[in-house]
Each structure stands twice: as structure tokens, then as C-alpha cells.
């Protein structure tokens, strides 16, 4: 099958430092995939490679072809924006390749519509630099959605959001995936959020893939211990039926005491 996103022996290295090697996985379109793993394990590098911004070995194909910038929405990890642009102007830039001297009413309508679905339409004429980090993240996500991508790559897009907005973002992504059949891959640290909202999971450990597939197949207490070095349970909520991961503690002996010099 050539539908969806396929990683074929993908590797990324910076100089002589190998970040990822031999990543093999495939995901059908129309899903949300959670990309999880400890800090520095190569999540961002993998997304950068898919987006075509990092050179890589092996092959990454989407629907049988190389990933095409026109079909792609990629949101890198957040850094504060200082521009004096209004929120609406920032969202419009999602379509910068197609914009002419006059912004068409259709694009304007689409931009307002997306801001409305995020519940931040009232921010439209506020300057982007005056917003909080979380609000900026929402605006940038709205901008990527305006591109109507078939493949949406989000690097910790929910890291600065409050609980309600995290849920809202996943509901919007779910609706988007169901309406368009797009594939969303989101790098995320919160395992409970991933368990609840992702259809599939891709777990990275230092240097490569630790597993991919359904959450409860991939994430087990043994895997959590070996990948993250934490003791945790993986339970099924008896009320909602979803998987939850209550974290217990860092594995014994893995934290050295802080020594303060006398």
C-alpha cells in the first residue's frame, strides 16, 4: 500500500552525531498520530525530516510520493513572535504563496472561520506580539490550518495551552481529520492526552523507534521503564474506557542528589 505516510529506513544525522536511524513505520491517512518520546530523542528532527527541512537517509513518502510543500502544514516548536502584525494578518500568511495585492474575500472568510472555531475571533485585530505564548500557538495553528494541508505536522503545538484549549485543539484536529481525510502527526509529551486523542502512536527512544501502532500495544509499564526511566502503570479508565497513565516516580537510583558546595 502506498497511501498515507511511510517511513522506510529513515535516519537523520548532524555531522557525525546520529540522531535517528532505521525508522520504519507507516500510517494510513485520516488519523491523528501522537509522536512521543523523551527530550532529545529526535521527535523534532523526525518532523523536520518529513517536512523536507532536514536532510535524511532512507525514504519518506506521503500517498506514494515525496512530501510536497503545497500539501504540507508544518508547525515547528514555538518561539515568541515579536512582529507588529495583527492576528488576522498572521493567519492570512498561511496562504502567502497565493496572496496578491488584494486579499480575496474567500481567504478572509476562511481565516475568520478558523479563528472562530478556535474561539479567538475577538483577538483578530490584536497585535500578535501582545498575546501570550499559548494564544500565539493557537494563532499559528490556525495559520497552518488555513493552508488546508493533507499532512499536518505539529511540534508540541499544545505545550503552552491550558487544559480547555488543549482539548479544544484536539477536537478541532479531529473534526479536520474527519472532514478532509488528512493525516496529523503531533509531537507531544503528555501521554494521557496522546492516549485519549491519538489514533496511533509513534514512540521514539534515543536514536530510533521504540514502537508504533495502537497506544495500548506500544506503551506498557516495561516500555515506560526502559524508554523514560519511570515507574508507571497503564490503566483503562472504568468510566470512559480510555487508557490513562498515572505516573509513579523516577526509577530508583536514577537521580543523583544535588551537591551544594560548602
Amino acid at each position: 500500500m502506498s497511501e498515507g505516510l511511510i517511513f522506510d529506513r529513515v535516519g537523520v544525522q548532524f555531522g557525525s552525531r546520529i540522531v535517528l536511524s532505521d525508522v520504519e513505520a507507516q500510517f494510513a491517512p485520516g488519523q491523528i498520530i501522537g509522536l512521543v518520546g523523551p527530550n532529545g530523542c529526535g521527535k523534532s528532527s523526525l518532523l523536520g525530516a518529513v517536512a523536507g527541512l532536514l536532510s535524511h537517509r532512507g525514504e519518506i513518502t506521503f500517498n506514494g510520493r515525496g512530501v510536497d510543500a503545497q500539501n504540507l502544514g508544518y508547525m515547528p516548536q514555538h518561539s515568541q513572535i515579536r512582529a507588529s502584525l495583527s492576528v488576522l494578518e498572521v493567519v492570512l500568511l498561511g496562504r502567502h504563496e497565493q496572496l496578491g495585492w488584494r486579499v480575496s474575500a474567500d481567504v478572509l472568510e476562511a481565516a475568520y472561520g478558523i479563528l472562530g472555531s478556535f474561539g479567538i475571533e475577538d483577538l483578530a485585530s490584536r497585535p500578535i506580539h501582545a498575546l501570550s505564548g499559548g494564544q500565539q500557538q493557537l494563532v499559528l495553528l490556525a495559520q497552518r490550518l488555513l493552508r488546508a494541508p493533507r499532512l499536518l505536522l505539529l511540534d508540541e503545538a499544545t505545550s503552552a495551552l491550558d487544559l480547555a484549549h488543549q482539548l479544544r485543539v484536539f477536537e478541532i484536529l479531529r473534526a479536520y481529520v474527519e472532514r478532509t481525510g488528512a493525516l496529523v502527526m503531533i509531537a507531544i509529551h503528555d501521554l494521557n492526552l496522546a492516549a485519549r486523542h491519538a489514533d496511533g502512536i509513534m514512540l521514539l527512544r534515543n536514536g530510533g523507534l521504540a514502537g508504533s501502532g495502537r497506544f495500548d500495544d506500544v506503551v506498557t509499564p516495561q516500555v515506560l521503564r526502559s524508554v523514560y526511566g519511570v515507574e508507571a502503570e497503564v490503566l483503562t479508565s472504568c468510566r470512559t474506557g480510555s487508557v490513562i497513565v498515572p505516573l509513579a516516580r523516577v526509577r530508583e537510583g536514577s537521580v543523583a542528589p544535588i551537591r551544594l558546595s560548602p
Binding site: 504540507l72 516548536q77 518561539s79 500568511l93 478572509l108 485585530s125
Partner: protein, 355 residues
């Protein structure tokens, strides 16, 4: 429900309203520029009331009143139009520089262009006499060529090490110091008369303008405009930071290098004939951001117009305070620029530029 819909309509009208507000700002700036240019034509050592200026303009360069026609068309008009061209070049170059370097302190001279032009001019003033070409050709050509050499050096550094703002600024500082120091060496070696000429060139004055210089600088400006316009959305995207711009499919380094070449051309066009004129390229973009924000569709034309307004205004002012010995416009912009810069800094409230 109706209330909710009205609220949404109100918000949706905002973008169009802001666009109209910006167009209005642009139109008003153009009117102010025309008014200042007329005022500039009326001022000069021999005076000339507005009425006569208008008559002379309508009569054209071959008008019957020979004296008016000569003063207006041969003496004052080149200076006024040169003010427009140089101001527009510096305004455009300044805004593009601040955008690609992501730095509000950047100006067309940040990357050593003025130092290079100054060196080129000094070189020509000292040794140009040996050539069989008249001075008024050699000096601008040499200044122009040296500006492009400086541009080539920084470009080379940017190609070898990546066109990030840091690399460009560091390369520019190195080039700037290099040209400044060899220009100082020339000044040190020069005879008092030559030294005086060099210093006078460095002041930057519209008195040096002729129709030839206006045509050359104007042609370079017109040549650059389509390229500047083509990148206006790309420059706006660049304001989101390199990471975001790259992820939106923008070839960040390419845009930066192209813009950098345009800035070099525009700066060379501006300074080669009239000498270095500071502050216009620094302040025009700030004033323009206060009026039009950073959507470069509006900001670029507005910055050009405001640059021209500042320069023509400075020319009028220089002639007003001492009609006999016109103060070089470069000195006026430098002195007047400081309070303007303070005004801009203080008016940047907690929320900054956008209206």
C-alpha cells in the same frame, strides 16, 4: 443571536477598515510630499513666490520667463527631485534592512555601505585627477563601485556561512570598519584642499544634484521597484521568525540574499551622487510602522514616501534657517533625526505598533 452576528460582522469589517486606514495614510503622506516639494521649489537664495513657481512649472523648461525657467528647472528642480529619489531609496532600503536583519537598529548603512561609498568617493577625489574623465563622473562611479564591492564582500560571507542575521551583521561590521579605516588613511595622507573636498562629500548634500544624477538614481530606483514589490509577502512572512517562515515553505536565505542585493543597489543609488545621508533609512521605517504596521504591501510604499518626506522636509528646513549658505541636508537629517527617533521610541506603547 442578532447581537452575536453583529459582533462578528463588526470584527470582520476590521481588516478592511484597517486596510482603508493604511491607504488613507499613504495618500496623505503623498499629499504631504507634494506640498513639501512645492515648498522646496519656492525656497532658495533668490526667493520665488508659489505663484511664480506654479506658472514656471506650467510653462515648462522652455518657458518665456528665462530667469524663472532656469532657476526652477535647472537649479532647484534637480535638487527637489533628487530629494524625492534619495529619500525613497533610503526609506525602502531601511525597511528591508530592518526586516531581513530582524533588528530595529538596522539601516541601509548597517552593513558598511556608507563607509564603502565614502572610501570610493575619497579615492576618486584624491586620485581621480590622474584620469581623463571629469570629477563629477569619477566620484559617483567610484562611490557606486565601492558600495557594490562592500556588498559583494558581505554577500560572499553570507554565502559561505549562511545568511542568518548574525552573520550578515558581523560581516557588515567587519566590512564597515575596513572601509572606514582605509578612508581615514586616505584622509590622513591627503592635502588640506583635498581633505576639505572629501569632508564636504561626506556631509551629503542635495546641492550636488544634476539632471544626470537624478536620471541615474531614478532609473536604479525604478529598476528595483518590481523586485521589491515581488517579495512583499515573503518579507512579511519573514517577520514571523526564520523557523516559522521556513516551515511555511519560504526559502529564507534566498529572500534574505535577494533583498540584501536590492538594498545595496538602492543605497548606492542614494549616496553615490549626494554623499552619505544618515538617519532617513533608520527613522522612515519606524514612522511607517506606526502608521501602517508591518504588512509590507503597505509598509514598503509608505516607507519610501516617508523617507522622501523627511529628506525633502530637511532640505526645506536647511534652506529656511540659512538661505545664503544652505546647510547640507545630511547634517539636518542627523540633527533632526534624534528627536524624531526619541518620539518614535516613546510612542511605542506597551502594545507597540499596530493600529
Amino acid at each position: 443571536m442578532t447581537i452575536a452576528i453583529r459582533k462578528v460582522d463588526f470584527v470582520r469589517g476590521d481588516y478592511r477598515r484597517a486596510s482603508r486606514y493604511r491607504q488613507l495614510g499613504l495618500a496623505l503622506s503623498v499629499l504631504a510630499l507634494i506640498a513639501l516639494m512645492l515648498l522646496d521649489l519656492t525656497t532658495g537664495p533668490s526667493g520665488m513666490p508659489l505663484n511664480d513657481v506654479l506658472k514656471g512649472l506650467i510653462a515648462g523648461p522652455a518657458g518665456e520667463d528665462r530667469m524663472t525657467a532656469t532657476i526652477l528647472w535647472q537649479l532647484r528642480m534637480p535638487q527637489t527631485v533628487m530629494g524625492l529619489v534619495v529619500g525613497a531609496c533610503l526609506g525602502l532600503a531601511g525597511l528591508q534592512m530592518q526586516t531581513i536583519l530582524d533588528n530595529p537598529l538596522a539601516s541601509p548603512f548597517t552593513l558598511g555601505f556608507s563607509a564603502a561609498a565614502g572610501f570610493g568617493a575619497a579615492l576618486a577625489i584624491m586620485f581621480g585627477g590622474a584620469l581623463a574623465i571629469p570629477d563629477y563622473f569619477v566620484v559617483p562611479i567610484s562611490a557606486f563601485a565601492m558600495t557594490l564591492v562592500a556588498c559583494g564582500l558581505v554577500y560572499l560571507i553570507a554565502t559561505l556561512r549562511g545568511a542568518s542575521p548574525e552573520i550578515l551583521v558581523l560581516g557588515g561590521i567587519a566590512v564597515s570598519f575596513f572601509f572606514q579605516s582605509i578612508q581615514s588613511l586616505l584622509q590622513f595622507l591627503a592635502s588640506p584642499e583635498v581633505l576639505q573636498q572629501i569632508v564636504f562629500w561626506l556631509f551629503g548634500s542635495l546641492l550636488k544634484a544634476t539632471w544626470t544624477s537624478v536620471s541615474v538614481s531614478g532609473a536604479i530606483l525604478l529598476f528595483c521597484l518590481p523586485f521589491v514589490a515581488r517579495n512583499c509577502w515573503a518579507l512579511t512572512v519573514l517577520k514571523l521568525g526564520d523557523g516559522n517562515a521556513r516551515s511555511l515553505g519560504l526559502s529564507v536565505e534566498k529572500v534574505r540574499r535577494e533583498t540584501f542585493l536590492l538594498v545595496a543597489l538602492l543605497t548606492a543609488a542614494a549616496v553615490s551622487f549626494v554623499g552619505t545621508i544618515g538617519f532617513v533609512g533608520l527613522i522612515a521605517p519606524h514612522v511607517c510602522r506606526l502608521i501602517a504596521g508591518e504588512d509590507h504591501r503597505f509598509a514598503l510604499p509608505l516607507s519610501a514616501v516617508i523617507g522622501a518626506v523627511i529628506l525633502v522636509g530637511a532640505s526645506v528646513f536647511g534652506k529656511f534657517i540659512s538661505p545664503a549658505a544652505v546647510i547640507p541636508v545630511g547634517i539636518v537629517t542627523a540633527i533632526a533625526g534624534i528627536p524624531m527617533l526619541f518620539a518614535v521610541i516613546l510612542s511605542r506603547g506597551a502594545e507597540g505598533g499596530v493600529k
